[in-house]
Symmetry: C4
Subunit: 318 residues, 4 copies
């Protein structure tokens, strides 16, 4: 067995990483619990079990891929790391494609596993809306009350908070995490999103996780309606998460990570480094950075709600 | 990006800490799950998911702020640390203000994200009481059955237990905790409060977490009613938690922490230190502290329920 | 503050331990979530939140007491440790009394906190049975379907499994546990009991946790009925857990712990020790222990279900 | 006590391991929460508490057995380890038998504990189907909507994902896990399965866990119907998990583990080893493995959904 496996060894780093990302997202989707709750009409689970399924699926998706590719499992997260200079830009499209393929096949597996249940539930008709709709098992659709701008804001805000916390969990200078706890916390974060930001449009947060299964449902018999529903909703969970993700990442960087003074070192070294740095940069910082930066950061903070209030107002007007 | 961030670096420790506390509380509130459950009329969650949202929001608020400011996220906790001499008193007002601003903006974000849902749910009328009330999404209001004294006692008891456990989790001499588990346990503690002490008045436990969103609702259209409701309830979750927090902190200190004999050292050193100390303080302690202290502690313990019984009795009379 | 606390220091080990055990059980009870669910008639929680409250209350009770007394929080666990020679017998009555007092005061606190709610729910009449019964908030009563023998067996089996797992978690030779995870796992164990063995009689598992609150309800106005209800049920959750606890402890010791070969050492030492031991005890063991012990253990295993089947049969006859 | 236990010491490694596996599965079953929910007609739990009971039961089953036998607790997992060359084949039947006996006695204990409740619920008649059926407490039966092929696919897919994640959690080269977290994560994995793949046929995943209790119900009064129900369903959860388990194990090995380059070493050594290996195997790999293996892996990935689609199609035809 060992030798057999050895023969199949792929030595290309990028191929290995793409396979890991693919498999991680495949598991993430394959563990989606919505099919069970929808087709059992709520007798085998409720809203909480759906969220638990999403969160735990992500946990195990991360455990499967973490050692090989770092388990991004979300193009938005890959983009954030690229922007921060912690991931090469050229890997971004390959990672995103792996995510998309993984999500597509994951959805196919869910459909396969719940084939009988979906047929029985829907009476053989695959619908996107109505009491017997089954498309919501696979990807997000907006609630009836949600306006277009409301959906956009929802996804921007939710992904911003999501990425802000993801980046914080990765920030070793903010505090160490024991190995093995990180995937669990990301799962807990997804659960948090699910229980607090899921009723507007099902918290996609992840363009690949939304588009992949949507493409599958398009192919598998739900037809064009999956792109037309909700007034052409499909592109919102693809575009908004990137905007929100960048907003969240930059917010964390500006408000927290930029101010860590040095990389962690032995206390003595750290002390010296701080002193040296202070001596060198004293002039520069003291005369120009301290007040301005401070006000700038405050402005960003203040701007955020102003922006929000503005959008809220425009919502009120529309 | 690195250099850009470097330019924005704030070197003032207290500003960094206030920003971290602000962001932590912003996340804590932003993850509130009540909006989802209320506006979906229970189809997207239940009482448990609200508590999970509160608890997990706090977990990630702590993860965001822990490395910079210690993640108090609650003026009551800051006060307790000040009383115990572990936090400078002069930082207390700045921390509290950061908490208040974070909570205010967090509530604004929730309102923004659920703008459509709240409008649809309430028919456009922002009410504090009644079947279409939405003010309860943001801050605490007492249940109909709750008397004024009952509410006061509820908050004192709940915050006392909360702070007692918080201080115990921080007490390294009571037993070590792996890095990264502490925020999760505080979240679990909030969940415990939520499932066991939430039906009287929604377990605010945190003056900033209650007042910030209340101010927001006052500004955003719910009006004066947010301060008048429940017979002027608004000041109880501001005052009572401080009383309860001090009570809980002092109880833990008196019953547990005061009696740890030395700071943790190697067993040999510890042994020696104990012996030395015993020799020096033998006279003082043996002739006056042992019996008196013992009785005093017992008296405190006994007093607690007597006080409680007294209040219970006065409740019965009123 | 430090010096103030120092003056209150108690140097008597046993008094410190009893206070810690008292406070641990006080928190365990104080976090009971049943009052919330019962008095809100299920709007603020459900069966799961009650179990979560019990489990998490125990977690924090353990965190408060673990460094001082080991956080037994259950006379049955103290007894098991005494039987295994890991705890002095003379401390058993003091520990048990501390548990009882802690449980009594914990129940008093719950009553105080839910005074208004219980009065409103029950219409001012404190009843043990019927739709407005409130005694079940504090201690266990058997379900209508439960026979006397059924209740006895339920408690013996449940406490046996509970203690078996508790002893297993403590067994360092079976596998290490990170500091801080142990209390969480005991909480998870209590949750397991709650979701799988709670519908017959509410899984007391703990004589002090049941008798203390029962005494409180007796004093506080529920009257003699708390002892008469369920055909004099009150003594079953006091006696049966001791029987079950010993059964579970002995089962684990016989089936697992007795067979660990040496205490953990460096691999080399361990190897040598094993060889030495094997050489010395070869004769003794090979000629008499191997087959007999084996059969004896098998007999114990077989006996367990036979006993069970016997009781099952007698139940069928009665 | 110590000496008493010492006399009972079994020195045979395989007997010790079998006893540990037996006890682990006994606890896993004994904590089954279905009896409680079924016999209380949903007042003492819901679908989620059943899944929590299963998951947590497994957690403590693993904690009891992990130090002695590695806590397989599932013949499918034992088989996977044998195939991977990490467990001796000759132990497989003994382990499987231990699992079966443990599951049988675990079911007997549940019946004993819920004897009164089952009698009351079912009116004394032990039925496999209908509103008062109680056989579903012990082992799996297919839902009405499930076809024979659907059930087979469900179990193959579910066990494949389950084993894939199990093997991933064990893979130290994918990332380290703190001691004590592994059993908890396996429990979380079982919960994931329960909330996302439980409505078709109750996710048995484990031949011993399904057959043992089924044999018990056969003996205990449910009669032949337990084997006849669901069109002779009983053998599906015995055969399908082995197929799925192998599929999942091989998938993980091919897609992830085969490509780890070396066992973890110090960075320098690793670097050297990689270089050396690359030099030696350069020719072999470069001319023949790189493209072919890559395509082969892709083919396996593509085949999986094709296979699935094929089965889906055949399902559609039938």
């Amino acid at each position: 067995m060992e030798t057999l496996l050895r023969r199949c060894q792929i030595r290309s780093q990028i191929v290995r990483e793409c396979i890991a990302e693919f498999l991680g997202l495949y598991i993430l989707i394959g563990s989606g619990a919505a099919a069970q709750v929808v087709t059992s009409r709520g007798t085998h689970g409720n809203y909480l079990t759906i969220q638990l399924g999403s969160a735990l699926g992500a946990v195990f998706g991360i455990f499967v891929a973490r050692g090989v590719s770092g388990a991004h499992l979300n193009p938005v997260y890959s983009l954030s790391l690229c922007v921060l200079g912690r991931h090469p830009w050229k890997k971004l499209p390959l990672y995103s494609l792996s995510h998309l393929v993984g999500a597509f096949l994951g959805a196919a597996t869910v459909y396969l596993q719940y084939y009988d249940a979906i047929q029985t539930f829907s009476g053989g008709e695959l619908l996107v809306a109505g009491p017997n709709a089954t498309a919501g098992i696979f990807c997000s659709y907006p609630a009836d009350h949600l306006s277009f701008w409301g959906g956009l804001v929802d996804q921007v805000v939710a992904t911003a908070l999501f990425l802000l916390c993801c980046v914080a969990l990765e920030d070793q200078r903010n505090g160490p995490l024991p190995d093995g706890l990180h995937p669990v916390l990301v799962g807990a974060l997804i659960l948090t999103m699910g229980v607090s930001m899921g009723s507007n449009c099902g918290f996609p947060l992840n363009p690949a996780r939304d588009l992949g299964p949507r493409l599958f449902t398009f192919v598998a018999g739900w037809g064009e309606e999956v792109f037309k529903a909700g007034g052409g909703w499909w592109w919102v969970p693809i575009v908004a998460p990137f905007v929100g993700g960048l907003l969240g990442t930059v917010t964390y960087e500006l408000l927290i990570e930029a101010h860590h003074q040095t990389t962690p070192q032995s206390p003595q070294q750290e002390q010296e480094a701080v002193e040296l740095e202070e001596f060198v940069q004293l002039e520069k910082f003291q005369q120009f950075l301290k007040p301005e930066t401070f006000y700038w950061v405050i402005t960003v903070i203040s701007l955020m709600p102003v922006l929000e209030a503005g959008e809220g107002a425009s919502l009120a007007i529309l």
